[in-house]
């Protein structure tokens, strides 16, 4: 490893793994990256592609010999304000993308926590959707195309830079959320949405989980369509923050409807609302808090999922998006984790575990197909992430 590192420049650091420190390289050019991958294949190494490691949650502890970061491969390749798309290199920070598109009257989705740390490649590979998926859908729906590097050294493209396009198989849907297990994302194109002209946030403090879920149900009824709803435990109470944004006429009407349906909120507007929204968004468990869990279930089962979480891991930190049916959590011990995950799966939830063994994982019915896909896309089994 050290010889390889010397050849390709200094390593950018290490991360602790089960077998010791895992070195991380961050090639400065695509050519260097391709060369590094070829060397890794020749050396029989296992590689985990990473971005800025802001969201690994222990994912690197997967037997990787080398972390390959795309953080140095950054920059906007093309922003087409008149077409509502942006193409950028994988290492570009989400905050940088957000700022670029704001200048053209657009908003970036996903609205992920801590965007100054997260990279486009990391977000897309992780399949990480922000709270705004409630209104706009998951990240994978907005990835229009990609350029990727395969373990055979080939750089290929899938999709394109068009908002509507069904030319060829959508391999980018397979790569998005594959967790660095199939290829290394070099570049991605996202569809953009109109920047909101107005924003309101409603903050509720509820005595019980049941009361919070009831508020959530009321404020999400049509025709109201919140952009995001977050729920987290707060001392003995529950804090629920709902964000409404868009045209001023829309936000005014939604606020009126919500005040009627679920009175008692503290409201904020404009910049103040943005601050409330960002604080709520960024209160999700952060890097280093492991083991981490990502739970996905039907919205009507979210209350049961949270009750299971609170029952098995009362000290856990979590942020739920109840109306979207997703929740992120960090728990303290493997024992808590095992019982919790088993219970959640009995509830019909899907669970992704990072930074710990997933003891209750049962072979998915699709596992054989997924293994064939892995063999087909990464025959060298170079990339060792997991979806």
């Amino acid at each position: 490893m050290s010889a390889l590192a010397e050849q390709l420049g200094p390593l950018r650091g290490t991360l602790p793994g089960a077998e010791g420190e895992v070195p991380m390289a961050a090639p400065a050019t695509e050519e260097a990256l391709i060369e590094l991958i070829a060397e890794a294949v020749a050396g029989g190494l296992k590689v985990l592609p990473v971005g800025n490691c802001s969201r690994l949650g222990g994912a690197h502890d997967c037997g990787a010999d080398l972390l390959v970061s795309t953080r140095a491969l950054s920059g906007v390749v093309a922003y087409e304000p008149g077409d509502g798309t942006i193409t950028a290199r994988a290492g570009t920070k989400m905050s940088e993308l957000g700022e670029a598109v704001a200048a053209g009257g657009h908003r970036l989705t996903p609205d992920v926590p801590r965007p100054r740390a997260a990279t486009l490649g990391g977000v897309v590979a992780d399949g990480w959707s922000g709270g705004d998926r409630l209104r706009f859908g998951p990240t994978r729906h907005h990835v229009l195309g990609m350029r990727v590097l395969s373990s055979d050294g080939q750089v290929t493209k899938t999709g394109g830079r068009l908002v509507k396009n069904v030319t060829g198989f959508e391999l980018h849907r397979l790569y998005a959320g594959s967790g660095g297990s199939l290829c290394l994302i070099l570049e991605a194109t996202l569809r953009l949405f109109a920047a909101p002209a107005a924003r309101s946030c409603a903050s509720y403090s509820c005595d019980s989980l049941e009361a919070a879920i009831a508020v959530c149900d009321h404020i999400s009824l049509p025709p109201v369509e919140p952009t995001a709803v977050t729920l987290r435990p707060d001392g003995g109470a529950w804090t629920l923050i709902a964000t409404f944004d868009g045209r001023a006429e829309r936000v005014t009407r939604e606020r009126a409807l919500v005040e009627e349906r679920a009175p008692g909120a503290a409201w904020s507007e404009g910049e103040e609302a943005l601050a409330v929204h960002v604080t709520a968004r960024d209160s999700s468990p952060g890097e280093g808090e492991t083991p981490s869990l990502r739970i996905s279930t039907r919205p009507t089962r979210m209350q049961s999922a949270i009750q299971a979480l609170c029952g098995h891991a009362p000290e856990s930190r979590f942020l739920a998006h109840p109306s979207a049916g997703t929740l992120e959590a960090s728990v303290n011990t493997q024992t808590e984790l095992d019982a919790l995950v088993s219970d959640l799966r009995h509830l019909g939830a899907s669970v992704r575990v990072r930074g710990a063994a997933d003891e209750s994982a049962h072979p998915r019915a699709t596992l054989a197909l997924e293994e064939r896909l892995k063999d087909a896309v990464d025959p060298q089994h170079l990339f060792c992430g997991r979806p």
Binding site: T156, T158, G160, R161, A194, T326, R352, A376
Partner: protein, 479 residues
């Protein structure tokens, strides 16, 4: 076809599920791309997932190729058995299995007709967003295979954004449950990978669809322009202004004349060179504000009249005219070649002009009706397939249009798929390595390449083959 195999298949699906008679098989020799025809060896219509699985296992034993088919409304030859084989149609699988009002999804069998899904959930105040022009006939399973679009996917996205889960039968007869009502299933996004596969990865027999609430208000606008250029420029400006109506469609003069002369007459004005048909939906105040902005942009780009549908009946008539436009073209000539290309939305005007020049130079009748908001053009060429010279000019024009679009940063298909029609043009967009990656992915699902062979990916390794036009002389010779 081996009589023993026929007998075994009939034992699974019943006599109503097997079409062996050649005269009846003729109905399956092509889909909406009438230029390429071949009579299938057999047509199978399983009644449910179990029957589909058992049939597929028998077909695997025999090594037969399988061509999945919904309603056969596709326009790129995706359901055409151009290499023979067994057509596997879903038309007997038409049950709506479950509608969840609170979690906003429906689980249906693949043969459910698109419009019937919205009918089945409308009493819950919900609807299914993708609305291809053929929605009165096309099936949800067919929409999944083609990742179909429609006017309202401008706001709500193509089919892939509305599919949560699938039951799929692979070429080996394996039943796979992909995804489901949970927003993020564990493992790879196999649903996203499957949607748009054009029947080459397997057959979907059941589909879990995302539903959306009916909007509080919908306004339908008709903006009349003296020229097609003006309408295109207005759309480009609407997009640049980040306005978010739910549909933006353009119809040109020839299309308007055809529609107005048909039973679908919608009241489109005959004095316009082109019209913009726009839906705006959402909260009432928001819709009014957006409509005001759109009207301003339309006026600035030369619209000489703006009409708003006064009630649901008028709105329905305006949209029925748009969605029936392809059928109305039958008044112009017996056959219609519906091109389907997509370009950046900043380049609408220049590409529409280019398509006009391409068709003019070949003495072809061109009309335009398209999803302008998505940059998805449908240059429609009316022709007579009995005239082999005209057919050759149509195909040449189609190829040239694709070339121009790709050169402008566009692509081959916005919603109809690649099928047979565009297969040999794929090299314009993708490299050998790109296509190899697609083939490798396909091999993981169907290593023997028995599912819908000969579609999407061009014959490899020979540029002469890839650039060869469709075999006109061989058409119509189904056996």
């Amino acid at each position: 076809m081996d009589p023993a195999l026929l007998h075994a298949l009939e034992a699974i699906v019943g006599p109503e599920g097997v079409t062996a008679d050649r005269t009846r098989r003729l109905a399956y020799e092509c889909d909406g791309l009438a230029l390429v025809r071949k009579v299938p060896d057999l047509v199978l219509a399983p009644g449910d997932t179990r029957q589909a699985m058992e049939c597929m296992r028998l077909l695997k034993e025999e090594g037969l190729t399988v061509i999945p088919r919904g309603a056969g409304t596709g326009l790129a030859g995706g359901a055409t058995p151009h290499e023979g084989g067994v057509v596997f149609k879903t038309s007997r699988m038409r049950r709506v299995i479950e509608v969840s009002e609170r979690d906003r999804f429906a689980r249906v069998e693949a043969g459910v007709v698109n419009i019937d899904l919205t009918r089945a959930c409308s009493h819950h105040g919900l609807r299914y967003a993708p609305d291809p022009s053929s929605q009165q006939a096309c099936t949800i399973g067919g929409n999944v295979a083609n990742n179909s679009g429609g006017p309202h996917c401008f706001r709500y996205g193509a089919t892939t954004r509305s599919i949560l889960g699938l039951t799929v039968i692979t070429a080996d007869g394996e039943v796979l449950e992909l995804g489901g009502p949970e927003p993020d299933p564990e493992g790879f996004d196999l649903v996203g990978c499957f949607v748009g596969c054009e029947g080459m990865l397997g057959v979907a027999t059941e589909v879990t669809c995302r539903l959306i609430p009916e909007p509080e208000t919908t306004e339908t606008l008709l903006a009349l322009f003296p020229t097609l250029d003006g309408a295109c420029e207005a759309v480009t400006e609407l997009i640049a202004a980040n306005l978010e109506p739910s549909a933006i469609e353009i119809l040109d003069r020839l299309t308007i004349e055809a529609v107005e002369a048909s039973v679908l007459a919608a009241g489109y004005p005959d004095e316009a060179g082109a019209v913009l048909l726009i839906d705006v939906d959402g909260l009432t105040d928001e819709v009014r504000a957006t409509v005001r902005d759109i009207e301003g942009i339309a006026h600035d780009n030369g619209a000489f009249e703006l009409r708003t549908a006064t009630d649901a009946k008028e709105r329905g008539r305006l949209w029925a005219g748009r969605k029936g436009a392809f059928g109305a073209m039958g008044r112009i000539a017996p056959d219609l070649y519906v091109a389907d290309v997509v370009v950046p939305r900043t380049k609408l005007k220049e590409i529409v002009l280019a398509t006009t020049e391409i068709c003019g130079a070949r003495d072809l009748k061109l009309s335009n009706v398209f999803h302008a908001g998505d940059g998805n053009l449908h240059p429609n060429i009316s022709y007579d397939r009995r005239d082999s010279d005209e057919v050759a000019r149509v195909l040449d024009a189609g190829s040239e249009i694709m070339k121009v679009c790709v050169a402008a940063g566009g692509s081959l298909s916005g919603e109809h798929g690649v099928g047979i029609e565009k297969r040999d043009e794929m090299h314009r967009v993708f490299t050998e390595a790109d296509l190899d990656a697609m083939l490798r992915m396909r091999a993981a699902w169907d290593p023997d390449e028995r599912m819908n062979p000969g579609k999407v990916i061009p014959v490899r390794g020979c540029m002469e083959v890839k650039t060869k036009p469709l075999p006109v002389a061989a058409r119509g010779d189904g056996s």
